[in-house]
Amino acid sequence: MSIHTYLKSLTAGVLGAAVAGLMATTAFAQTELTVYTAVEAEDLDKYAERFNEAHPDITINWVRDSTGIITAKLLAEKDNPQADVVWGLAATSLLLMKSEGMLEPYAPAGLDRLNDKFRDAAEPPYWTGMDAWVAAICVNTVEAENNGLPMPSSWEDLTDPVYQGHVAMPNPNSSGTGFLDVSSWLQLFGEDGGWDYMDRLHDNIAFYTHSGSKPCKDAARGEVPIGVSFAFRGAKSKADGAPLEIIIPTEGIGWDMEATAIVAGTDNLEAAQTLVDWSISEDANRMYNEGYAVIGITELAQPVEHFPEGITDAMIDNDFEWAAQNRERILAEWQSRYDEKSEPEG
């Protein structure tokens, strides 16, 4: 018999009263939605405010973390989901959730305006896209000059020994951007070529970070001259006054989509649908466009300040299904190769 069964009988009586007391105090006129997200923290208030302008009766409680962690959290809570909606998570992660039966299919109002790439293929779709989130290299021009580093222009350039100890990149095991980088290299250079590339890149890596935005933020404050991160983050730091150059490597860039979905079994289905409707609306797309160059409703897209040219052309033909299905294997392989960087022998 497990200890849980013992305790059950032991504490049931004491708890009855406590539970009743707690329940009595909660009564809300507002609908509260627990929304899991990997959207940059500084944007969350804006997203909630704009949504509340249209729907003041729904309160959003954000749970934010990096893509890998939010995904793992959602999967771990599978039997007892805490989230009502996922708003702003990588499409590859939502594909995983879909295969576990964790998403509620829903065709939001205005679905026909969305670019076909920005929706799940099923009818009704299990998720809808918001914007594309593309890899990029952030180079700190001041530190690059101090260290006599040439400006890289391709992924291959980063393996040049001149950059030894000057590059930071996110760990794909915890960061969605990291996984996007790794899976795009494997798709660009082939399985063997991709690992060979990462072997050589590994020699130049100063450290692997937990979040995808950190390499760029570290580059922005000069802690490391070069950060493998994503374009949106680079543009933001540049706008903050960091001496950054954002490079789109010539071989092409990995990308993923931020997408929205309803978690199956939510107690607030109506409010969740309202949120998803809004998440693909014109207003929402204009809001995404303030930071992201590529958005769901293609014809609304305006150029974004500090973003480099030619992002759309550089985006590789990403195979999301392949990435989702091989995720575990790729991550395990990556970990066994590179996660022991500072290990002592034995």
């Binding site: 200890i3 570290d218 066994s336 996660d339």
Partner: protein, 672 residues
């Protein structure tokens, strides 16, 4: 003295009748507090141990597949194990399945074998079912389910859990995991060998010299207790990072790694070692020094023959405390460890990064071993230390010696400079607009609502949490200590309570926090509603810091004569009247000490609560961690300093309250 309660047999017997309600209350309290410790410490640890034995494996022999033949009949049923064997490639790419590993059925049967088959059917023959996922729905019976060719890719197999020792085997077979044991031991031992002499020197200066500003130095030495252990790491990044003004001191070495871990650990363990050694040096007997002088021993010889032996238990004890603190801390390696893996960080990475709870539990069990050993040794040693203090000892009074006092002053100033320097750097960095490119001052880094970690709410949550922990924790701990020390009924219960009260000290915060996930988040647990609330943070934090508070309370209670209880019993007074009228006022300084100890630790704690907070209950110290994680290290420093100032304010309040209350309730001490 312990027998005094039984001296007057008749009155006690008479009182026993009148005091039956006391007996019931006391028994009730013992049960409640013991239950609290069982629920908050013992049961979660057991649940975690259970999880560390849980492994996942595919049972392909329990799934059957049939193909529809061209004539519409069903072919021979084969198990998936059969097809997998025929395929010949390693299952799951040779990887160890985890709770969330899934295999596509279509990948187990070669395309050649299922050529031209339009319809398949599968069934789950396993004992507990649940092995097959049909487009998201889990199999619950052994009925055949038909699947068209185009949907075969959506049928997944998932692994079944077993209780084995495989997780431990896997741990020791994996160099990157196993290596952490050695790494942890190395940094803990190096830190120990640096901190103990450093703290000894400091305590020596305070107790044995006549240097000025002793009070100031004592205060500075205690400062690191008031900040989360993440903060020194952040300070070091600013001082020694690639943009740090002191970067050249490292001579090309990186601050990210063992060097950074050791320096930051020295910072945060210093006060703990200092306090223990200070006590040890303070209780030395002046008569030994007089004897030494009479024998014309040199100062150097006196030092080695009198001072050091007198403090030896304190030195050993502080060494073990420092060792335990470093090996169980994860804040420092998280911020500044770079790629250097240590045990506590592995737990965090396994659980938060990979959501591999079973492996997190295994690492936790391994981390318990050194922590338990250190705890046991420390307990033994401390008992001997106390025994050294005899009633006839004469307190030592230092004499003036200009050269010696100046040296000691310089030494203390240097150590204090190190402590204050790290904090000052954090505060400065938090105020710069964009280090190192724009050094104008700005409060932008205090705009926590724009960063990861829960914003200003998390600061408010921390304040509330620390307040609840201080109030509720002090009540529980003090009442618990009182029933253990001062009551007579229910010896077995009191013994159990005493044992349970000692347990939390040996359990690292990380381990405690993780065990809560297994215990409270278990679907069968009636206490599950606590998960994700402020209450669970309070329960966990009180439990985490229970032992030290309990020891403070019992020490204070032991100083009170048992006569109070026996006299009141013969006067047929309730035990609780004595408790309220005598015990509480007399022990009031100890009660205030427990409250401030609980408050300060609740403000700075990260390791246990990092697994338990939820969006509505984010905490300031966790926000420091998350902001640092996202690269917002200036705001992380700003939040860390907010915690520091809050704790300073709480300390001042505590000192003020002690003085005011002391005048009223402690007057009796003056007369004596």
């Amino acid at each position: 003295m312990s027998a005094s309660g039984e001296t007057a047999g008749a009155p006690v017997a008479a009182a026993a009748r009148g005091a039956t309600s006391d007996g019931i209350t006391t028994r009730g309290l013992i049960v409640i507090i013991a239950l609290y410790l069982v629920v908050a410490v013992a049961a979660p640890l057991l649940a975690m141990f259970e999880q560390s034995l849980r492994t996942y494996a595919f049972q392909l022999q329990d799934v059957e597949v049939q193909f529809q033949l061209p004539d519409g009949t069903w072919g021979e049923a084969h198990t998936l194990a059969h097809w997998q064997e025929r395929l010949g490639t390693p299952l799951n790419d040779g990887l160890r399945p985890s709770e969330r590993t899934r295999l596509q059925v279509s990948k187990l049967i070669s395309k050649a074998d299922r050529k031209d088959v339009e319809l398949f059917r599968l069934r789950d023959m396993s004992e507990d079912k649940g092995m097959l996922l049909f487009d998201g729905t889990i199999s619950t019976d052994d009925a055949w389910r038909e699947v068209e060719r185009s949907s075969l890719g959506k049928v997944l197999v998932r692994p079944i859990s077993h209780v084995t020792l495989d997780n431990y085997l896997f741990y020791f077979e994996t160099p990157s995991l196993r290596g952490s044991i050695l790494n942890s031991l190395i940094v803990s031992l190096i830190t120990m060998f640096i901190v103990v002499p450093l703290a000894f020197g400091f305590a020596y200066a305070i107790t044995r010299s006549c240097m000025p500003a002793k009070g100031l130095f004592k205060t500075v030495a205690m400062v690191p207790i008031l900040v989360p252990s993440l903060l020194p790491g952040i300070g070091l990044v600013y001082l020694f990072g690639n943009q740090g003004p002191l970067n050249t001191l490292l001579m090309g070495e990186s601050i990210y790694g063992p060097i950074g871990i050791v320096i930051a650990s020295v910072f945060f363990t210093f006060p703990h070692a200092f306090l223990i050694i200070l006590v040890a040096l303070s209780i030395s007997d002046a008569r030994l020094y007089e004897a030494s002088i009479a024998l014309r021993a040199t100062r150097w010889r006196t030092f080695w023959t009198v001072t050091v032996p007198g403090a030896r238990y304190g030195l050993i004890s502080s060494a073990f405390v420092v060792f335990t603190l470093v090996i169980t801390d994860f804040g420092v390696p998280k911020v500044i460890g770079g790629g250097y893996n240590v045990l506590a960080l592995d737990i965090y990475k396994q659980v938060i990064g990979q959501q591999n709870f079973q492996m997190g539990a295994v690492v936790s069990m391994i981390l318990l071993v050194p922590a338990l050993v250190a705890f046991a040794v420390d307990r033994r040693v401390r008992r001997r230390q106390v025994a050294l203090l005899s009633a006839r000892a004469v307190p030592y009074a230092p004499t003036r010696n200009l050269r010696f006092d100046t040296t000691m002053l310089a030494y203390c100033a240097l150590v204090s400079f190190f402590i204050v320097g790290i904090l000052a750097m954090c505060q400065l960095a938090a105020l710069f607009k964009f280090w190192p490119y724009d050094l104008s001052f700005s409060l932008k880094n205090y705009d926590f609502d724009r960063m990861d970690g829960g914003g200003w709410d998390s600061y408010g949550n921390s304040l509330r949490m620390a307040f609840y922990v201080a109030v509720i924790g002090t009540v529980i701990v003090f009442v618990g200590a009182f029933v253990v020390e001062k009551t007579r009924v229910f010896a077995g219960g009191r013994w159990l309570l005493q044992l349970l009260a000692m347990m939390p000290m040996a359990v690292p915060g990380m381990v405690l926090g993780l065990s809560y996930i297994f215990f409270f988040n278990h679907p069968e647990n009636p206490l599950g509603f606590l998960y994700g609330t402020m209450a669970i943070l309070v329960i966990c934090t009180i439990a985490h810091f229970y032992t030290v508070a309990h020891l403070t309370a019992t020490t204070s209670l032991k100083q009170m004569d048992r006569e109070f209880e026996s006299v009141s019993a013969s006067l047929k007074q309730s035990v609780w009247k004595v408790f309220g009228r005598v015990t509480m006022p007399v022990c009031q300084p100890a009660i205030l000490d427990i409250a401030i100890y609980m408050f300060v630790n609740a403000m700075t704690t990260v390791s246990a609560v990092v697994f338990l907070y939820r969006p509505q209950t984010t905490l300031a110290a966790v926000a420091v961690l998350n902001m640092d994680d996202a690269g917002d290290i200036a705001p992380a420093a700003a939040m860390g300093m907010m915690i520091f100032y809050t704790n300073v304010a709480a300390r001042l309040l505590h000192a003020g309250a002690g003085r005011i209350l002391g005048r009223r309730s402690q007057a009796w001490r003056q007369r004596g």
